[in-house]
């Protein structure tokens, strides 16, 4: 690990000013991504500003929304009874990620900011436009089994790995930030992450020194009736090959409203408006789900080793919808 300076911040604004004032300064919370990547020299910050002691660890529950502090740990969020009741897809997505040890450490904001697991990003001997802009991409012609099929560019095909964010993408979520000048802003979650395009090193709309302080989840008609399904190479403690976060509002047997998020296959947390359009107003049955899956993956671009992800993601989405409907029918009987 490259030497760095460690400082504790005394408040949110102090932290944002500290990081904002130095190009190579970063926020430090759970550390599960940062310390890992610092050990292998992928990230080499000159300063870590510890935000763990800031008062951002509460979950505030109100009638129509839940406000989650940036430092709330993944396990606490997954286990919170209001999340389990009102946003089951989020609880399920969190519980599908990593291990209890890591969920006890990882924070809400850190999960949103987590880095790709692309093996070329994680290997400093490889070319990677995300790690070293302009150096090229060894993944495109390399062993790209785990890489994305949606949202890729000629510069980067790295998958965004978070389960939690796949659920956040299909819920109504606002990210609240604090900036070095003392101002705050609200960003719709679906606008928060950027597609790689020509600048894969730019992953979010955050400015340097801007910090996530809270995440606000608004109840929607489909958020209570929601479900997460993850498919991976082993049964536990592994990143997704494909995952689907789904929510349905039903009017009898007709789908009145639908939300679809896809994970493990895209370069950012993916909300599939195409799949939602194919579901809304249609009868809740397998044919409808199949049409939604086709629509969701219509723009997929595959590479040498990851073409399997297209049929896998389709089947994952169909199965997620089937499972959700089975749960729904069991509950409403």
């Amino acid at each position: 690990m490259k030497p760095f300076r460690y400082v504790q911040s005394s408040g949110v604004q102090d932290a944002t000013r500290h990081v904002g004032g130095q190009a190579e300064s970063v926020f430090f919370a759970g550390g599960t991504t940062l310390i890992d990547l610092m050990k292998i020299h992928v990230l080499q910050p000159s300063e870590l500003v510890d935000v763990n002691q800031l008062p951002l660890s509460s979950i505030e529950v109100s009638d129509k929304s839940i406000r989650v502090g940036a430092n709330v740990r993944n396990s606490e969020l997954a286990w919170h009874v209001a999340i389990r009741e009102r946003f089951p897809v989020l609880s399920e997505a969190l519980l599908a990620g990593a291990s209890t040890q890591i969920r006890n450490m990882a924070t809400t904001a850190g999960n949103i900011m987590q880095k790709t697991r692309c093996p070329y990003y994680r290997d400093i001997a490889s070319a990677c436009n995300k790690r070293v802009p302009g150096s090229g991409c060894d993944a495109i012609e390399g062993y790209n089994k785990g890489q994305a099929v949606l949202g890729t560019s000629d510069h980067c095909i790295a998958t965004f790995p978070s389960d939690m964010c796949t659920a956040l993408a299909m819920l109504d979520v606002t990210v609240i930030t604090a900036r070095p000048d003392g101002s705050t802003r609200k960003i719709a979650f679906t606008d928060f992450h950027l597609l790689p395009g020509k600048t894969p090193e730019r992953e979010t709309v955050l400015e340097h020194g801007e910090m996530i302080s809270h995440v606000e989840l608004a109840d929607t008609p489909s958020s209570r009736n929601s479900h997460y399904l993850k498919v991976r190479d082993r049964a536990s403690y592994e990143f997704a090959l494909a995952s689907a976060a789904v929510g349905l509002e039903l009017d009898g047997k007709t789908i009145k409203n639908a939300r679809v998020g896809l994970g493990g296959i895209a370069t950012k947390p993916w909300r599939s408006v195409e799949a939602e359009r194919a579901l809304i107003g249609k009868p809740a049955n397998t044919d409808t789900y199949k049409a939604a899956a086709e629509a969701a993956l219509a723009s997929a671009k595959t590479y040498e080793h990851n073409a399997f992800k297209v049929p896998l993601a389709k089947r994952t989405l169909i199965e997620a919808l089937e499972e959700l409907m089975a749960q729904h029918q069991a509950k409403t009987k």
């Binding site: 599960t32 389990r84 006890n104 450490m105």
Partner: protein, 202 residues
């Protein structure tokens, strides 16, 4: 090393300006030490405090051999910065026993032969202790069919135990006996509390 008092461990490096003075609470003892800001909790435990129970398996958060408790919650010491752990109560495998009296989970692992080479065992046992504490609150896991209705400790299936222990890898493959050990400790605990209640269930 004398036990029950604050320990001062001098720095070995000449460039002490790079070092930080920290106070770490480990196994109910306070240690005043100087550390490099880069030191992980795992390295400080093993190299500076001579607590070699927590193991360095992968050193990248994938194996769980370094698992310790931080304020009662299981965490990976290899991904924790020691400097950020001040004010936290750390418990390692060395801190579980009460004198010569083993922790019930340690006894259960011996009883059920829950290991082969033993390298992952300290992490497994710490993780299993945390599993019991978490499950007392009836929290769901990935395999819980309905996250709103999570099983309590007494009702944990083998599948639930396997999922909840999945952050700890055992390369010898002692998993069946590890699951038995967790059940053994669980039944010993809940058996004491609810001998009659258990007979009444299914």
């Amino acid at each position: 090393m004398s036990p029950n008092h604050v320990q001062e461990i001098p720095t070995e490096s000449a460039s002490s300006s790079d070092k930080l003075n920290v106070e770490l609470k480990v196994n109910r003892k306070t240690h005043k030490i100087q550390i490099d800001p880069r030191s992980t909790l795992l390295d400080v435990l093993r190299e500076q405090l001579n607590l070699t129970g927590a193991k360095k398996g992968c050193d990248q958060g994938q194996c769980g051999a370094c698992t310790v408790l931080a304020d009662g919650k299981r965490v990976l010491s290899c991904l924790s910065l020691a400097v950020a752990q001040q004010g936290t109560e750390i418990t390692t495998i060395e801190g579980l026993a009460d004198g010569e009296q083993l922790h019930p989970m340690q006894s259960a692992f011996m009883e059920c032969d829950g290991f082969q080479c033993g390298y992952c065992t300290p992490g497994q046992i710490i993780s299993a202790v945390a599993l019991m504490n978490e499950s007392a609150d009836a929290v769901p896991s990935h395999v819980t069919p309905d996250v709103l209705h999570a099983p309590g400790l007494a009702d944990l299936s083998d599948e639930e135990i396997r999922e909840r222990m999945s952050g700890n890898i055992c390369r010898c493959g002692a998993y069946p006996n590890i699951v038995d050990a967790v059940k053994h400790a669980r039944d010993a605990q809940s058996g004491n509390a609810a001998k009659t209640g258990k007979a009444g269930k299914k």
